[in-house]
């Protein structure tokens, strides 16, 4: 990815093109593209089986609804922001060689404590978001510490602490009546607009421009964070160490990298990212904290496909989060003929095929040598230009 966006040292257009087609970044994008197309085709086949007469309409809704009006665009962006953050939380940990299945717990504590300080202590939105980040960071540090100092697999700790997060937040919620006072029932948090409008994410007039209560600056914050994560991973010593340990921990240790410290720090960063995601979704004023005795919030788990689809590349995660947010909004339009779960079926097929990244990349390579040769001969071939676009 990095190489494709820096054409400065390319001798000519054609050399740049051939390098582009050769580069790992291009191959990854193309491989993801193929996976996405295959997933959509498979999804279409499934809904054909369920209800052939409305299949075309359903698929059309899925693929166009997110664009159908400014209102829907705003909703796509609103859904994308937390997806992007949990995607980064999972992706960053992946780069460090850790499987952060605990993003949902980190997201939950982030969302809950953002609301807690916003409602009880009247924190403004930015302070509440920082609190969410700190809460997520602390929650993420637990699997890191257990892994580094007790040799407990991070997967098991993350799973356990997902549930502990849920129960703990429920417990604190139910013991602070202010969280729901004046609201009709005690299982939902009170609307932020009533108690503390300053905690709502600023809209900068977007809510009027896009005619949607979902419009706010959350998506810009998320993209900004993704860029920061990209810089940390690609341009700093710490990022290099994280990736080195992720690729081969023993080699990293041999090279003098403090692996234990890196594990804990990586998990803390991952947790902080997911925590911000919780704030971005819950400080929009469109969703409440709801008591649920036995269901984890799905947002954290949705971060896993977001990260996988982008091969854990922070900038790629922006694109994959947008895609999944777009499909989720489109999925709502498929009801009632089809359940909105259709989106997840399509998503699962996309992920399944993206697991074959190696094969897909080779496939892409095999498909492109012709255009590469032509590109090297001269930039006159329109097909090779199409690749660039």
């Amino acid at each position: 990815m990095k190489r494709t966006t820096k054409p400065s040292d390319a001798r000519s257009d054609s050399a740049f093109l051939s390098r582009l087609v050769d580069s790992a970044g291009f191959n990854s994008v193309a491989a993801s593209g193929i996976s996405i197309v295959l997933g959509l085709i498979f999804g279409f086949i499934v809904i054909l089986f369920i209800d052939a007469t409305s299949a075309a309409n359903g698929m059309g809704d899925l693929l166009t609804y997110g664009f159908s009006s400014l209102k829907q665009v705003a909703k796509v962006l609103y859904k994308t922001a937390p997806l992007l953050m949990t995607g980064l939380a999972v992706g960053f940990a992946f780069r460090a060689g850790l499987f952060n299945i605990g993003a949902t717990g980190q997201y939950t504590v982030g969302a809950f404590f953002a609301l807690y300080v916003a409602i009880l202590w009247h924190f403004p939105w930015w302070a509440a978001t920082l609190v969410a980040m700190v809460a997520g960071t602390l929650w993420g540090s637990i699997p890191g510490l257990f892994k580094a100092y007790f040799n407990v697999n991070e997967v098991i700790t993350s799973i356990m602490f997902n549930w502990i997060a849920l129960f703990l937040c429920n417990l604190i919620f139910l013991n602070n009546q202010a969280m729901w006072t004046n609201s009709s029932d005690s299982s939902r948090s009170i609307g932020l607009a009533f108690v503390n409008p300053s905690a709502l994410l600023p809209t900068l007039g977007l809510d009027v421009a896009l005619d949607s209560p979902y419009a706010n600056i959350g998506i810009f914050i998320a993209i900004l964070v993704a860029v920061v994560v990209f810089i940390v991973l690609e341009k700093t010593t710490f990022g290099y160490e994280v990736k080195a340990c992720g690729l081969n921990k023993n080699a990293g240790v041999y090279a003098g990298i403090k692996a234990k410290r890196n594990i804990v720090l990586s998990m803390m960063i991952a947790g902080g990212l997911a925590g911000i995601g919780g704030a971005l979704s819950h400080l929009a004023g469109t969703v409440n904290y709801t008591i649920s005795a036995n269901t984890l919030l799905p947002m954290g788990f949705n971060g896993i496909p977001v990260a996988l689809l982008a091969f854990s590349h922070p900038l790629g995660i922006i694109a994959s989060a947008l895609l999944i947010g777009f499909l989720q909004v489109g999925g709502e339009a498929m009801q009632p003929e089809f359940s909105s779960e259709m989106v997840n079926i399509i998503l699962s097929v996309i992920i399944y095929f993206s697991a074959f990244s190696l094969i897909m990349r080779n496939l892409v390579k095999r498909m492109t040598p012709k255009s590469r040769k032509k590109a090297a001969a001269g930039p006159s071939d329109p097909a090779s230009k199409g690749v660039d676009a």
């Binding site: 499934v46 369920i50 209800d51 499987f99 299945i101 257990f146 007790f150 040799n151 407990v152 697999n153 997967v155 098991i156 700790t157 799973i159 356990m160 602490f161 997902n162 549930w163 502990i164 129960f167 703990l168 429920n170 417990l171 139910l174 013991n175 005795a293 036995n294 269901t295 984890l296 896993i304 496909p305 996988l308 009632p336 089809f338 359940s339 779960e341 259709m342 989106v343 997840n344 079926i345 998503l347 699962s348 097929v349 992920i351 399944y352 993206s354 697991a355 074959f356 990244s357 190696l358 094969i359």
Partner: protein
Amino acid sequence: MDFLALILSSTIAYGVSLLLVGLGGMFSERSGIINIALEGIMVFGGMFGSIFLSLVAEAAWVLEHPQWTVLIATVIAGLSGGLLSILLGYAAIKLNADQTISGTALNIFAPAFAVALVWAIQGQGLTDIKLPAFIAITAETFGIDSTTLPTWLDTLLFKKMYLTIPIAFILLVISYIVLYKTRFGLRLRACGEHPQAADSVGVNVHRMRYSGVIISGVLAGIGGMAFIMSSSQSTFTASVAGYGFLALAVMIFGNWKPLSIMGAAFFFAFFKTISALAIDDRLSFLPTFGLASPEYLYNILPYLITMLVLAFTSKKSRAPKAEGIPYDVGKR
């Protein structure tokens, strides 16, 4: 006495699905494949078992032979679980794909597919399947009048008894024997530790790994059925409430060994039972610490205690050495 019987029977009811699925995970990981898809496979297997039960619930033969029907449903659940796991195996073994990714794909696929399919079968919005009442084993199943039994015995044996419970224990014994006392088990374990070495003495690594994954799918499918019967009020809801992931944790807790996995499953289930009973207010002697809704405090208990135990015991815990690594013949 009645109370102890209740705790014991509930612990067993909670624990069997964890035991079955944990054993499933063990077979897969011992062969070298990380099976993160256990959650999805449970849903998938449980779904087909439940659909079968709800379709045949009215048939005359079924009403005469309820437990045989449950057995058939369990087999169907196991087979469909095994079928889904082939997808994981194909990606992980044949295509050398990243096992976490393909497993995650199945975890997303199965519940979504279950909702879509059950929705298509039962009509819009109806995504739950209530299992028929005859699946429960009671004293009457054996022609005994339950009123003649002492309450504690009735509670212990027949309060939460389903066919999947004895099946789970039989499968535990079989798993132990297969893993440690047969040639197949030795080869399977070798493929999870050092597949190149196994290959060099003529073991077909791919076949062993497929076997491990498919066995894990079958056990997870049966575990899904067990979960729906005893931990989900006999209702299929297209979700197994994270039990597949918990089973993964139980497997790691149990150090990838059958008997330890059993211990871990029932250890967890015991504290889960305590917290469940605390929610029901049947343990009113437990302190509330002046909290509203103290049940959530007790909900945390099984998870927290498991973590504490793990912190002290897992220094020597060791995963199969080659798990998660695609087999590469050229790498010695």
